[in-house]
Symmetry: C2
């Protein structure tokens, strides 16, 4: 079954892993970073540019797409891949995270979540079964279970309740996935999501229970929600030994380049984050020399490009003075160019990590990368 | 002098003309449409996309660039071409039009205009000499004289006063251009601007006086400022016989595709307008089938592209349903794609006009183009 979903672990280097995820829409080289196309689009970036930057897979947000234009409409138009004209792998989240962060008047009970749309106040219900149905309508290559994602810090009892509820929802999602897979094209994957807040015992319990149910991959959710990097990494370290080596490990919503290096070193294979595009729109460029804030007046007369050796034309072909001007003048081209710079930087970081893991020198790669950030951009103006 | 500015009239077809403008930064095929890069950037479009659309020349706004980042800064960074990374021809306006429409507390007298920046309230003075100096600092290939541009309708006495003042400023601009050309790279051109509001006698007088002074090209200013298309075309018809056939004729700030066809038929060679990008950002696509408003709900389930036969990928590769969704969801990609569609459409319109004039069938081309707009998009959904 050539079209089936599978994960091929190719190299390990300490806990770090490099491999390939096979999906019906093509391969994903891991560790991978997934740009976020919230409402069926990245902000300020063309789809062909996302691909040119090196992305193998992108993330679509079920919450946004269920409200507008609606999953039934997207299905009638041929599915999400065709709708957005991205014929490569797509992962969709379950909608749970955004229901918690964006929707109004949400009510969580055993059955699911009832909430009001933040767009027009219309009432929606999201159950585990509906979350899977929506993702089947979208036709994503990787679907995520519905979970309840708390903000940290939270009360221990509250964390325990949400963790248990998320496990019961995981079971229902798995049954729903089997139902919606009947007669559908083969190979669509479903990932379980480890919850448990900052409670290591609950995290281990959640991971073990999910693995017992058996998913195509395992995500760690409920992190990057306000906790320190130290707490985040401690949870990752706690969870990892419980996850099977032959399945992909996905750390949701992470993160900065530093977060990513640290998590790859601990065995994480997949990441998603809005930082490259959001920070780009706010005038911040990620570079080999560390972040550069183009809003800063010191760039106003700087004729140097961001990085003359970059693979990204936006980093090579425009002066910092011009980028500074665009950012100060609120010209949309500023956000467009800096989002591109950042998407390329993130993809190049992942490519470097993959090569280093294959060569068995990921620790050196991480150290040299961090040294470059710390040294800053010391070339003379 | 290979680098010098010159105009080569190649074909005429009735009053319509096709030719080549030679500039230090390359050739411009006429009739030409110049996209507007207000603050050193087109809105929502990359510079390489402007070129791919087929633009030979773009317009930069002196008013905006003088306020931010400042012409001395751009000169120190190597000039406007290098600053924006557009190595092709650039025309700059004189700043006069935007001083009138955007600045606060402006005071016009014989010497020039004193005004407050709309950005931070700083006081600036724009004289004919300073307008030319700024354009020399920017290094544009074609500079425009400073003029006083009134909104129509206006009192006859007021029109007469502004017209005479603009003529005296034209003389001062010409002397300033000679001064700033000493020792500068050769071939920078200066255009005079015919004013006179809707008064045909004043228009003729203005044109004759400018031609007597002698400019590299002649613009018709003070139109597309609220008058009807009928009035605009009547003024164009009045002015044209007074302009030398061996110099380019530029109708400033025009216009819709229909305005452009009508003006080309009357001997106009150059156009500029923000319509392709502004309308694109507001959800309107210009197509062979006429304008299509993507905001309209009737597109929500329409899987057809805007134009499957377009040279523009944005018009071919995305469904109207997707474009409708992006516009409704305020996704920046919507404005990016539709601005591209429109820039390609405008450039294809100009290319079609040039070919038709060369073949001696511009009237047929115009009629068939208008028929396409009128027939609309009648293909079945």
């Amino acid at each position: 079954m050539a079209d089936a979903f599978s994960f091929e672990l190719q190299h390990t280097d300490g806990a770090a892993r490099a491999g390939l995820i096979h999906t019906p829409h093509g391969m994903v080289r891991t560790p991978t970073f997934m740009p976020v196309g919230t409402q069926g689009a990245l902000k300020a970036v063309h789809w062909h540019e996302v691909r040119e930057a090196g992305a193998d897979i992108v993330l679509g947000n079920t919450y946004h797409l269920m409200l507008r234009p609606g999953p039934e409409r997207i299905a009638a138009l041929g599915g999400l891949h065709r709708f957005i004209n991205w014929p490569h792998p797509i992962l969709t989240d379950s909608g749970g995270f955004q229901v918690m962060s964006l929707a109004e008047l949400r009510k969580v009970d055993e059955n699911g979540v009832v909430f009001r749309s933040h767009l027009d106040g219309a009432i929606f219900e999201l159950t585990p079964e509906r979350a899977i149905e929506i993702q089947a309508l979208l036709g994503s290559d990787i679907a995520m279970q519905l979970d309840e994602c708390l903000r940290l810090p939270a009360e221990p009892a509250e964390i325990a309740r949400a963790t248990q509820l998320s496990l019961r929802w995981a079971e229902r999602c798995k049954r729903a996935q089997e139902k919606f897979s009947l007669g559908a094209p083969p190979g669509r994957a479903l990932f379980g999501i480890v919850q448990g807040g900052d409670d290591k015992r609950l995290r281990a319990e959640s991971a073990r229970a999910l693995v017992e149910m058996g998913f195509d991959g395992y995500a760690i959710g409920g992190l990057a929600v306000g906790e320190s990097q130290e707490v985040m990494l401690a949870i990752v370290e706690e969870v990892m030994p419980h996850l099977p080596a032959d399945k992909p490990h996905y750390l949701m919503g992470v993160g900065t380049p530093e977060d990513i290096l640290a998590a790859v070193a601990r065995g994480v294979d997949m990441f998603d984050c809005v930082l490259p595009t959001r920070n780009g729109r706010h005038g911040l460029a990620f570079t080999r020399h560390g972040p550069i804030n183009l809003k800063n007046a010191r760039h106003a007369d700087d004729s140097r490009p961001l990085d003359a050796e970059s693979r990204c034309a936006a980093a090579r072909d425009f002066s910092r003075a011009y980028l500074h001007h665009l950012v100060k003048a609120n010209e949309s081209l500023g956000g467009m160019l800096l989002s591109l710079v950042n998407l390329f930087y993130y993809q190049d970081l992942m490519r470097g990590a993959r090569s280093a893991i294959a060569a068995g020198n990921f620790a050196d790669f991480s150290r040299m990368t961090r040294d470059g950030w710390a040294r800053g951009d010391i070339a003379p103006i």
